[in-house]
């Protein structure tokens, strides 16, 4: 009796091993494609599946392995990715924020192959805006294919609240402070913030900086050609510190989505967050024009802070040909129009099928094709991960202590260490 129980136990423990072994055997060279991402939840996962479906239709003989790592807004996935890349076991294609997150981490260290030819061969170099090509390029070569575009500098506001106090939507920092003052007098939280993960504070700061500096200086700041002691930058830091007088007291306990929720629930009037919030409001059934509406964050009209998820081609990818096919699907009109309506983002191409998108997305697409496009700070487009990690640390202290001079000094010393112009 005891012996048979023991045998059962041994068998039970060996089942996973057997399964795993079988799985390994199935992965035949050349017939598979492993896609590595942290898209595990809701619209993201469904969007990725839609993209995979497009791929499967075209290439039914290739088996797609959808390797996702959940959690931590990609932090966990990035740790796994780093281990796999350094260990010489790269996934075929992996999700990465377009811009410096990809370039400074993987391109500079020579792990990536340029993918300019994917765009060239299909004649697609012109359908992506020049600013976008600029952001995804390094030394004249394109290194990743953007599948979507999100806008970072969006202010979400509760239209009912603003109407109730007779306030118009602020479109400069001065107007914002006037409105905030009025709201505070009436006991309404003017600005919702949820910075328990710190990056939402950095996200807000980027919009505030852009409002004071304009697009050229904003870009220069991340290239290292503009100093943090610049009077416009200093004004921005002071504005940020002043804004903290008007935020909800429990901001350190909330996530970015909690804060966005505060606006729709009427607990706060405004919130600055990326445009994934639109999808969230729609999925919760809030009415646009009443419980929520949007505008470019104060002082940034005419500018579009973009962030983008993209896929690149790793050197030594086990199934290189399949990755190229995958990248073509990602860059194609069909692929972009399958992914973005579901993910709630807009296509990186400017020639997509407008009938597939909702009213917010259409408005964002219009701005995207006419605005100045600048890279986002908090989402890896403007600066390297290493720099961003340190910027987040400074923000964590700055948001608490509101010491402008100290923050400015620390930001400057980080820029001296990490900015491309100083390397």
């Amino acid at each position: 009796m005891r012996k048979s129980a023991l045998i059962m136990l041994v068998l039970l423990f060996s089942i996973p091993a057997l399964l795993f072994a079988a799985g390994e055997q199935e992965l035949e060279e050349g017939k598979t494609l492993e896609i590595f991402s942290w898209w595990t939840a809701g619209g993201e996962a469904e969007g990725l599946q839609a993209l995979i479906d497009v791929f499967n239709e075209k290439y039914p003989e290739i088996e797609v392995v959808n390797a996702t790592v959940a959690g931590g807004a990609g932090t966990n996935a990035k740790a796994v990715l780093a281990t796999r890349m350094q260990g010489g076991n790269p996934p075929d294609a992996f999700q990465v924020h377009a811009g410096h997150e990809l370039i400074d981490t993987w391109v500079v260290s020579d792990y990536m192959e340029p993918v300019t030819f994917v765009l060239e061969d299909n004649g697609w170099l012109d359908v992506f805006p020049e600013d976008v090509i600029d952001i995804i390029s390094y030394q004249g070569e394109v290194y990743s294919i953007p599948v979507n575009i999100h806008r970072s500098n969006v202010m979400w506001y509760n239209a009912d609240i603003l109407n109730e106090y007779g306030l118009s939507v602020p479109d400069s920092m001065d107007e914002f402070f006037e409105a905030a003052e009025e709201l505070q007098k009436n006991g309404v939280t003017a600005l919702a913030l949820g910075d328990t993960n710190t990056w939402p504070a950095t996200h807000l700061l980027a919009s505030v900086i852009l409002a004071s500096t304009g697009p050229e200086k904003y870009k220069g700041l991340w290239e290292g050609t503009v100093d943090w002691s610049d009077s416009d930058v200093k004004e921005a830091l002071e504005n940020y510190a002043k804004m903290m007088d008007y935020v909800n007291s429990d901001h350190a306990a909330l996530t970015n989505m909690d804060a966005a929720g505060y606006v729709a629930e009427g607990k706060a009037a405004m919130n600055v967050m990326g445009d994934w919030v639109a999808g969230y409001y729609m999925s919760q059934g809030y009415t646009q024009g009443e419980e929520w509406d949007w505008a470019p964050s104060p002082g940034t009209a005419g500018n579009f802070i973009m962030l983008s998820d993209s896929f690149g081609l790793t050197k030594n990818a086990p199934n290189r040909e399949n990755v190229v096919k995958w990248l073509e699907v990602c860059a194609s009109k069909e692929g972009q129009d399958a992914f973005n309506p579901i993910k709630g983002s807009i296509p990186a191409r400017t020639d997509s099928d407008r009938s597939k998108y909702n009213s917010y997305q259409l408005a964002a697409m219009d701005d995207f094709s006419s605005d100045f496009i600048v890279p986002s700070l908090a989402h890896g487009s403007a600066v390297s991960e290493a720099w961003l990690t340190k910027i987040n640390d400074v923000m964590s202290v700055f948001t608490t202590e509101l010491d402008v001079d100290k923050a400015m000094k620390e930001f400057q010393s980080l820029a001296e260490r990490y900015a491309p112009a100083n390397k």
């Binding site: 792990y111 910075d195 007291s249 350190a252 964590s396």
Partner: protein
Amino acid sequence: MYSPKKEIQKGLIVVLPMIAVLFIFVYGFIFWSLRVSFSAWDGILPNMKFMGLSNYKTLFASQRFQTDLFNTFYFTLFFMGTCIIGGFILSYLLFSKLKGEAVFRTIYLFPLSLSFVVTGVLWRWVLSPEVGVNALFRMMGFPAEFGWFTSTESIAEFNLAVISLIIAASWQYLGYTMAMFLAGLRSIPDQIIESAKIDGAGEFRIIWNILIPMVKPITFSAMIVLGHISLKIFDLAYAMTGKGPAFVTDFPGLFMFETTFRGNNYAEGAAISIVMLLLVALVIIPYLYSIFRGEEV
């Protein structure tokens, strides 16, 4: 023929693979980390240029790491204190034939079956400043302004936000120290307590002069176990609070994780982990020393 020497040889052969694995994957990598912590490895590609102590210098100069060390110190102090004093009180209550002992013992031991991640998520809800216990107090008409894990107040470098983590961790480990003390109290011969009673000793006198000295070895091992948990705490803080505003709930483990895996600064990350290793060694080595000395006697 039985030959002890041969037996030892056979034994050695059996444990040799294990020892080899241990030396490579534990001690080997400790030395590797030490080496990396002296290097200039900042980025994905290794750069083993010897930099001396410069990583440690940057580390100790950074506000984040200084805050981390104070947080670790106070967390360890109060977590140990609560668990040991609270655990002893609970075990004494059970020991002195409280009714329904089995029920209470189970209740106190239950949290131990959870992982720190579960505990963290749970207490994050309970102590959330707007919706947790604060809301409960406000409903009952008391003012409740304390921000719990978002509080940025501090007394003598003790960030009050750490209290939330101390509560959560103590809640989980109180049952553990209680069980240890209970076992210790049960092993004290009844005669000693009986004769003390006959001699007219009161309850507190018995506790102070007999029970506490008798469970001293247990107190010592409890301190070691709790100490090494709190010195390398990561999961609880990661799940419950993150680093907090101005690092009020940050610990070296979180800092190390972010530096290494988010910032790709392997050299500085290794330096943090070496400091953590030294902190734990401060606790463990005296313990091992006393155990080995005890065995020789």
